[in-house]
């Protein structure tokens, strides 16, 4: 099977700092991949390079067989790469309905889906359990609901690759359980690339885990393999006394 996404020698410098350093990475269609690593390991920079929010210093990115290294971010979104922000970034002054209508009408204009905006919006809100809050301004939703709205917007883009940057940050434990169910649901139709610090969530969700350290891939494998890897334990999980 051909990977959905590959990067070759992907690098990004910020001044003298190599935030992402020659990363070769491959993601198979349909998998849930978690990216973990200590703070400053380059995880967010790495997914920002994939989504096109920042440009690489060198290397290339291939999505579904096509070189997308030089495509602007909005064009990558149209190809099916959706990014949900680490810091909640909904349109606070617009209603939840309008927030979701924006990605829905996007896919309608592209011809990637059919039907009316209204139907698509309600479907995305139902799926995330926000339907009864459709006409509330997004800024007045609780934090947990704003995170869900963020996911609803990502879903409404009909992504083939959904990048979730620390989605459970700031959520209560009960909300996290719902969230895990939601991500499993999403993974039935899309490939998920997940940056996450919450290890129980990672261990439950991920098919495979990629460990970043100092801009490079330190290890990669199934949750069991990564857990057993002594280098990973040193870099990230902490050594056992």
């Amino acid at each position: 099977m051909m990977p959905l996404l590959t990067t070759k020698g992907l690098s990004r410098n910020f001044g003298g700092l190599r935030a992402v350093d020659g990363v070769d990475f491959a993601l198979m269609p349909g998998e849930i991949r978690a990216v973990i690593g200590p703070n400053g390991a380059g995880k967010t920079t790495f997914v920002s390079l994939i989504s096109g929010r920042i440009q690489p210093s060198s290397g290339m990115i291939v999505f579904d067989g096509a070189d997308i290294t030089n495509l602007p971010a909005y064009a990558r979104v149209r190809l099916g790469i959706a990014y949900t922000f680490q810091i909640t970034s909904v349109f606070a002054n617009l209603t939840a309905y309008d927030n979701v209508a924006l990605p829905v009408q996007r896919t309608l204009t592209d011809g990637r889906s059919k039907g009316a905006v209204h139907v698509g919006v309600l479907a995305a809100l139902e799926r995330t359990g926000l339907a009864d809050r459709a006409h509330m301004p997004a800024g007045q939703l609780s934090y947990g609901h704003q995170r869900l709205l963020e996911v609803a917007m990502g879903l409404a883009l009909k992504p083939r690759l959904l990048i979730l940057d620390e989605p459970t940050q700031g959520l209560a434990d009960s909300e996290i359980d719902n969230f895990i169910g939601l991500v499993r649901e999403i993974a039935k139709t899309a490939t998920v690339l997940l940056i996450e610090h919450n290890m129980p969530v990672v261990m439950q969700l991920a098919d495979r885990i990629t460990v970043f350290n100092a801009g490079k891939i330190l290890a990669e494998g199934t949750p069991e393999q990564v857990r057993a890897n002594s280098e990973v334990q040193d870099a990230y999980l902490g050594t056992t006394p």
């Binding site: 602007p72 349109f91 617009l94 009408q105 883009l157």
Partner: protein, 320 residues
């Protein structure tokens, strides 16, 4: 933008148009003429509002789009002897073309740099008008001859100098632009414009090409302002460089802020308010600008979002 109550919004806007139509028959001559002028300039404000209110782009150079329409139409009549509809179309074309070029250049910047760049381009436009005084009349301006300001429709010819024809022409233009603005802001495109204003980065990550969406908004805004300028030249018969000066870039901003940015009827209310405050106070004192200033300060204190913007925020959430 809101899903609720589209009928209410359309009824309100049609009501305003009917009210303006009725006023034509009851207003005394002086106010009749003033209101015709206000309607034409409200079109200018509506064009400005589309870019400032909805996209959040603060331009300090919209006088150039107004005067592109003004001179485009005026010079076509004076030098080329074009008919009124052809001259109006020429004004629109000049405004649209200028907006496209300015948009391509100025949209490479944002924020304060966008304000400065648009202001500089407008100054260049103003100086060009002065430089080519042989054709433009320089700082004296030009008068569009009465004989040329006749609209021929089939067998009837309507003199645009006639107060009723002038008022009705202004009303027709105003109504078309008002309903078009309402249509735009309620459309999917309008939703994208507001999204850009609220959070550009997020909108981009939803797959929207920010630059081309903004460029379309600049061209539509510039064309509406040019329509106002072209109508001004043809209805009031004067083409002057004052209209290209920086003052006329600030005025639409003021009208929109007063009436309420990002409201469809705000530009009309702001223009109306400003004109009448100046008109009434200048009847009493030569220091009328002082009173205008006080009125503006009071407005900012009690209506920080403009007259309609504050009304929408406090009482009528459904206002478009």
């Amino acid at each position: 933008m809101k899903e609720a109550s589209p009928a209410k919004a359309y009824t309100l806007h049609l009501g305003v148009i009917v009210l303006l139509f009725t006023l034509s028959f009851v207003l005394p001559e002086y106010h009749h003429g003033l209101l015709a002028r206000i309607m034409v300039l409200a079109v200018f404000a509506m064009g400005y509002n589309l870019l400032f209110g909805y996209v959040g782009l603060l331009s300090l150079g919209h006088a150039m789009f107004f005067s592109a329409g003004l001179y485009g139409a005026g010079l076509a009549v004076i030098h080329l002897g074009w008919s009124v509809p052809a001259a109006f179309a020429a004004g629109l074309a000049c405004g649209a073309l200028l907006a496209l070029v300015i948009g391509l250049l100025a949209l490479r910047t944002s924020g304060v740099a966008f304000m400065i760049v648009t202001m500089m381009f407008a100054q260049v436009f103003y100086l060009i008008i002065l430089y080519f005084a042989a054709w433009t009349g320089g700082d004296q301006g030009l008068v569009v001859p009465q004989s040329a300001r006749v609209l021929v429709l089939g067998d009837t010819s309507l003199g645009l100098t006639d107060p009723t024809v002038r008022y009705m022409s202004a009303l027709v233009l105003f109504s078309i632009v008002l309903l078009a603005a309402l249509g735009i802001v309620r459309s999917r495109y309008g939703r994208v414009l507001v999204a850009i204003r609220e959070n550009e980065e997020r909108t981009k990550m939803l797959g929207y090409d920010i630059f081309s969406n903004k460029l379309v908004a600049v061209v539509v805004s510039g064309t509406i302002c040019a329509a106002s300028g072209a109508a001004y030249a043809l209805l009031f018969g004067y083409v002057g460089s004052t209209f290209a000066s920086v003052q006329y870039s600030i005025l639409p901003l003021l009208w929109v802020l007063l009436g309420g940015a990002a409201t469809t009827l705000g530009p009309l209310i702001g223009t109306l308010f400003m004109y009448y405050v100046v008109d009434i106070t200048s009847g009493y004192t030569s220091a009328y600008l002082l009173i205008v200033g006080i009125a503006l300060i009071l407005l900012v204190l009690f209506f920080p979002r403009g007259i309609l913007g504050t009304i929408r925020q406090r009482w009528l959430g459904w206002l478009p």
